[in-house]
């Protein structure tokens, strides 16, 4: 699991790659998102395009990050869902919760 953070204007994009599974993967997402919030970042995009594996704990961490950011007054959006992540979110009705984008520029523009 690797997360690279970059800024596009006032939006923080987290490029995630590898596995988001219980333990190291979920902790990495959790810590990165909280770190951004702590530093005042309120507009966060999780780019999941290179996440080749996720388990139910990983899905749970996406939900948890979403609620943490929302409760902190910010917004968290998802970018580039793989087919498998899309399916896992769809069958647990979570596609209705997240704002999901396939195009980074559209995702960034959606905050303004």
């Amino acid at each position: 699991m690797k997360i690279e953070t970059r800024k596009v204007g006032d939006v923080t994009v987290l490029d995630c790659s590898g596995k988001i599974t219980l333990g190291e993967g979920t902790m990495a997402v959790r810590n990165s998102v909280r770190e951004i919030l702590k530093n005042g970042g309120m507009k966060i995009i999780l780019n999941l395009g290179d996440v080749n594996y996720i388990d139910s704990s990983g899905i749970g961490e996406l939900v948890s990050s979403y609620t943490t950011v929302t409760n902190g007054g910010g917004q968290l959006k998802l970018l580039n869902l793989t087919k498998k992540i899309q399916e896992l979110l769809a069958i647990t009705k979570l596609l209705t919760v997240f704002q999901v984008y396939n195009d980074e520029r559209a995702a960034v523009a959606s905050f303004s």
Binding site: T21, L22, G23, D55, S56, S57, I59, G60, E61, V63, S64, Y66, T67, K84, L88, I91, T92, K93, L94, V97
Partner: protein, 152 residues
């Protein structure tokens, strides 16, 4: 992009059983996952089905370690694969106190939608053809799941 060659299934016995027993540590999950991927690669599952079988086993073993055995290193999780021409049977047994599956809250209920956990068994039931939860007389819980090989 690498292409993987399916092993020659005709060289395998008609029915084989593969068993592994692990301690209650999450570090073993990747090992179990690799073993599962290896077994499904011998069978006529497509890439998606193989992925979901692997995930179902991973979820079930995670539950056995975390919720069943409560991470107690002295307790084991037994994983048994039975490979048949038309189906894969997988049993995962822990040494915990067991649970009633009907007591588990539905992750689809509006009040549970944003909970960080509680989706694993729902996913297993979504992806496997049969799933059974059996409390064992000697204590512990057995989860038995089946994926049928698609007939051509």
């Amino acid at each position: 992009m690498t292409t993987t060659q399916r092993p020659d299934a005709s060289r395998l016995a008609n029915k084989s059983r593969i068993e592994v027993s692990i301690g209650s540590a999450l570090e073993y999950l990747d090992l179990v996952q690799t073993l599962t991927d290896c077994i499904t690669s011998f069978m006529a599952f497509d890439e998606d089905a193989a992925h979901w079988i692997g995930m179902s086993v991973r979820e079930s073993v995670t539950n056995a370690i975390q919720h069943g055995n409560k991470m107690d290193q002295d307790k084991k999780v037994d994983i048994r694969f039975e490979v048949s021409p038309d189906r894969l049977d997988i049993s995962i047994t822990d040494q915990g106190r067991g649970f009633r599956v009907e007591d588990l809250p539905s992750p689809l209920d509006p009040e549970n939608l944003l909970k960080p956990s509680g989706r694993g068994i729902f996913y297993i039931r979504s992806f496997m053809d049969e799933v059974e939860f059996k409390p064992l007389p000697q204590g512990g819980m057995e989860v038995h799941m089946v994926k049928k090989v698609p007939s051509n």
